[in-house]
């Protein structure tokens, strides 16, 4: 099977317009006859569902949380990019496109990224019209700040709660459609299977998390907007319910999984402090606008930070990357933090931390201004650590944060399974091997508000979609599969908790497939994961019954999928024998320790086809062509 990205011909800047014009339209009067399932109510899912309902489609929306407003997008802090060029500092669609392609270390599709940059401005317009209270200047105009990997100020923000405000805007739009009856909402419902009929995605099987009831839903198209899989590492900045299950279940039914090894480690998180720890907390990248990152120049320096004189501090990012300084992209900042800790210059109890110091900024612009910009973040820091970041430099360390990989989609955001569309963090699309800050929110909303509503129409208008019923065999078989898996989990009654096994998997992934990866480490992980999986199916204990609210059972189901998926992630990392973006192979580095790409060998998307648990998956390659942004060694010096 060859992968066709369906990228339209013609000059980059005209592709999207031309493509939209070429898409067949669905007759407005017929739209309500089409049922569309949207799984997920984060920025991608909520914006898509609302926009589709506005167009007249009948939409069914599912999410795990008790309310669509609590999707994980709510936690995004720092901001959203758009090439508005309001500050007049030289931004443009082309520059945003270029920065994003380069930031992703030349492993994303040019046409997709250009389109993303093109619609970025409209996103801000839409959100402002919804009443999203973005930060403003005294003049009443919108304010901007800078994020890593860019030398222009193009990030829009709402204090440290940008994701919350954008999501509440999309949630409002969604609830407005619920009120009109065009959207039916199924909160606390988990998708357990995708149903494929005659090669087309035609429905899903869900479990009510309150009653345990398993049921089928039919549709003409299924949209997955189910977020990222960072929790395969157990400790991450993701919310507890983030999972790979929806994507993985679709993958098992034939959808290709692309670039699973492209995971992002965020440089500025609160360090790990105990074995009982359940998650890691991000300190937004925006803090690097004003915070300076440093460690003591000497190894094993146990002095308190304030007593270390200026000359004995190493502001290592500023030293090594004078033009971007503290605002280098995430992969570069994370790797450098690891490096100084490896040299024994880490700080704090565990020596696995570096300082992020606001002292100079407070002296320069005053505590009030700092409070206004980052107040809630700094308060959060103080609550967690019990230390006052206005007085003592913060301690930070990299943590798993975002996943660039995801289900493979074409230019229309459709997977290789006709009728299955994938949006937001769940797809692999626009960020290549490293996502720049403030671009996930942009991508989620671009997908949901401005891309899918067009492209799904093109599919529906062309496809032949005979009626399907929940009584037919494909649905019944999928329901049985889901129910059997649950029975099997409950029957084990072993001696280990789900959480315990999840931690074990996470630690292995972090050690062998985290910030630095080597052939040896990856082979170790590859051998070890099936053992953990086997132990899970023999020794896990899942309490309670299937027909009730059962959080242990929910977690067990998600972990079961992570235990299959982890193997694919490691396999992908193993065969990608180059360093690029967040994927750092120790065997492939420049003399200065920067990531060394191998464009001849690996300038492609790796899209994997499922062959069965424990069976070697089949690799399909989508070559990447760069006509405009010519690949070069990334330099932030």
């Amino acid at each position: 099977m060859t992968l066709n990205s369906h990228v339209p011909d013609g000059p980059l800047a005209e592709k999207w317009d031309k493509h939209r014009f070429g898409l067949k339209l669905v007759n407005p009067a017929n739209k309500r006859k089409y049922e569309i399932i949207v799984v997920g109510t984060g920025l991608a899912g909520a914006s898509a569902a609302a926009s589709l309902a506005e167009l007249g489609y009948s939409v069914k929306v599912f999410c795990i949380q008790d309310s669509p407003r609590r999707a994980h997008s709510i936690a995004a802090q720092g901001g959203i990019n758009a090439s508005k060029n309001y500050p007049n500092d030289g931004d443009s669609v082309y520059r945003l496109f270029y920065d994003t392609i380069k930031g992703g270390d030349y492993r994303a599709r040019e046409a997709n990224v250009y389109r993303l940059a093109q619609v970025s401005g409209q996103i801000i317009d839409q959100c402002v019209a919804q009443g999203v209270p973005f930060a403003r200047e005294y003049s009443g105009h919108l304010a901007n700040r800078s994020f890593g990997g860019a030398q222009v100020s193009r990030t829009f923000y709402a204090r440290g709660q940008t994701g919350q405000q954008l999501l509440l805007g999309a949630y409002g739009a969604l609830m407005r459609q619920v009120a009109t009856g065009k959207v039916t909402l199924f909160p606390r419902s988990e998708m357990l299977e995708l149903v494929v009929v005659n090669g087309q995605a035609r429905g899903i099987v869900t479990r009510s998390l309150i009653t345990g009831r398993i049921e089928s839903h039919t549709a003409q198209a299924v949209v997955l907007a189910t977020g990222g899989y960072g929790n395969v590492f157990y400790l991450s900045t993701n919310a507890k319910t983030c999972n790979v299950s929806a994507s993985w279940r679709a993958h098992r039914k034939g959808a290709f999984f692309a670039n699973p090894c492209f995971t992002q480690i965020h440089p500025t998180c609160i360090p790990v402090h105990g074995e009982y720890q359940s998650k890691l907390t991000l300190m937004s990248e925006s803090l690097r606008n004003d915070g300076r990152v440093w460690v003591p120049s000497k190894a094993d320096d146990t002095r308190s930070p304030e007593s270390i004189p200026e000359g004995e501090r190493d502001y290592f990012l500023e030293r090594k990357y004078p033009s971007f300084g503290n605002l280098v992209p995430r992969d570069v900042a994370s790797r450098n933090a690891k490096q100084v800790c490896d040299e024994g210059r880490g700080v704090g109890e565990t020596k696995l931390a570096v300082y992020l110091d606001l002292r100079d900024a407070i002296q320069r612009i005053g505590r009030r201004t700092i409070e206004e910009k980052y107040g809630n973040l700094l308060q959060m820091y103080e609550k967690i650590t019990g230390q006052d970041p206005y007085r003592v430099p913060m301690m930070i360390f990299p943590a798993v944060h975002y996943t660039m990989g995801g289900l493979w989609v074409d230019y229309n955001l459709m997977s290789n399974l006709p009728g299955l569309f994938v949006l937001g963090e769940a797809n692999f699309s626009d960020h290549g091997a490293n996502r720049l800050g403030a671009s996930a929110l942009m991508q989620g909303l671009a997908d949901g508000y401005f891309i899918l509503p067009y492209t799904i129409g093109g599919y529906l208008a062309n496809a032949s979609l005979p009626a399907v019923k929940v009584e037919q065999t494909e649905f019944k078989a999928a329901e049985k599969e889901a129910a059997d898996r649950i029975q099997k989990l409950l029957a084990i009654r072993g001696k280990r908790t789900v959480d315990d096994i999840h931690r074990q998997l996470g630690l292995l992934m972090w050690d062998r497939c985290g910030m630095a990866r080597s052939e040896k480490g990856l082979l170790h992980a590859k051998a070890k994961i099936p053992e953990i999986r086997e132990d899970f199916w023999k020794n896990v204990t899942v309490t309670g019954t299937p027909g009730e609210f059962n959080q242990v059972l929910e977690h067990a189901g998600r972990l079961a999928d992570f235990l299959e998926f982890a193997e694919l992630l490691v396999e992908d990392a193993l065969i990608r024998r180059e360093s690029c973006g967040g994927h750092f192979r120790e065997e492939s580095q420049t003399p200065e320790g920067e990531a060394l790409r191998d464009d001849d060998g690996f300038s492609h998307v790796a899209a994997w086809e499922f062959q069965g648990v424990g069976q070697a998956p089949v690799l399909h390659k989508e070559p990447l062509q760069f006509e405009y942004a010519k690949p070069s060694q990334r330099s932030y010096k």
Partner: protein
């Protein structure tokens, strides 16, 4: 390593929404003062699971105070003793070694218990569906900077918009009133030019939906503000009352003028 702490927990256990619930007592030792309250409950659940007992059901997701999922009443206080703090951001160092802590769910007619410490807050979604938005379709927005908003108004709107919809305001109120939740959304929109055209319709519809869900009346106790993890001010309730009054009057005039509201 800091020394571990000991606690006695009295936790509300209830099988399902129709079942009768009661407090169960659990002893915990060796809890790190740096553990969060929810991590302490994770430790308890691990013990329960490994001894063949049902773990305590409680809701949480982001565990950094922004999703509004966690919702525990600790020693009678919604989200526990710290001001401006959701349960998930509360750490055990805040308690004394040997403390007894009562752990209960939100209690309100409009928030029925699902199981143990988990409640159903879908009433809030229905209130928002009634009008908690600007009715703008995708694609019809003008350039963002064509709508100027004075910084003071935008900041005030943001203060109100910071609501995480957790429902602590309802849980803390002796009347189980949702006025702070509704006031926050009505205020956000009323303070912004984008929200202005639908102001009257919005406030009337949201208040009507709120009453229908069975939330109580506001008697100005301000317990809601004290419990709110985002420190949303009761001045939003005053604004809600003003907006409601104005809209009600306009509605009467509107009807007289044949316009409707």
């Amino acid at each position: 390593m800091k020394a571990g702490m000991k606690f006695t927990l009295k936790v509300w256990r209830q099988k399902g929404s129709d079942a009768k619930g009661k407090l169960e007592t659990y002893e915990l030792r060796d809890i790190s003062p740096d553990a969060s309250f929810l991590e302490m409950l994770d430790v308890l659940n691990k013990q329960l699971i490994l001894t063949g007992r049902e773990p305590v059901a409680f809701d949480s997701d982001c565990r950094e105070g922004i999703c509004g999922t966690c919702c525990l009443v600790l020693n009678g206080q919604a989200h526990g003793p710290d001001e401006g703090t959701a349960t998930c951001q509360l750490h055990m160092r805040r308690f004394k070694d040997g403390d007894t802590i009562h752990v209960e769910p939100w209690r309100a007619k409009a928030f029925p218990v699902v199981k143990d410490l988990v409640v159903d807050r879908s009433a809030f979604d229905r209130i928002i569906a009634a009008g908690g938005y600007v009715s703008v379709n995708t694609g019809s927005a003008p350039d963002a900077n064509s709508i100027l908003v004075p910084k003071q108004d935008s900041d005030l709107a943001m203060d109100a918009a910071a609501c995480i919809g957790c429902g602590a305001c309802v849980a803390a109120c002796k009347n189980a009133s949702a006025m702070l939740f509704v006031g926050a959304k009505v205020s956000q929109m009323a303070l912004l030019p984008q929200g202005e055209p639908e102001c009257s319709r919005r406030v009337l519809a949201m208040v009507q939906a709120m009453d229908k869900e069975g939330f109580g009346n506001c008697t100005n106790e301000s317990e809601c503000e004290a419990a709110c993890p985002k420190e949303i001010s009761v001045s939003n309730i005053a604004r809600l009352n003003r907006e409601f009054l104005r809209a009600s009057l306009c509605a009467v005039e509107g009807k007289a003028g044949g316009e409707g509201a």
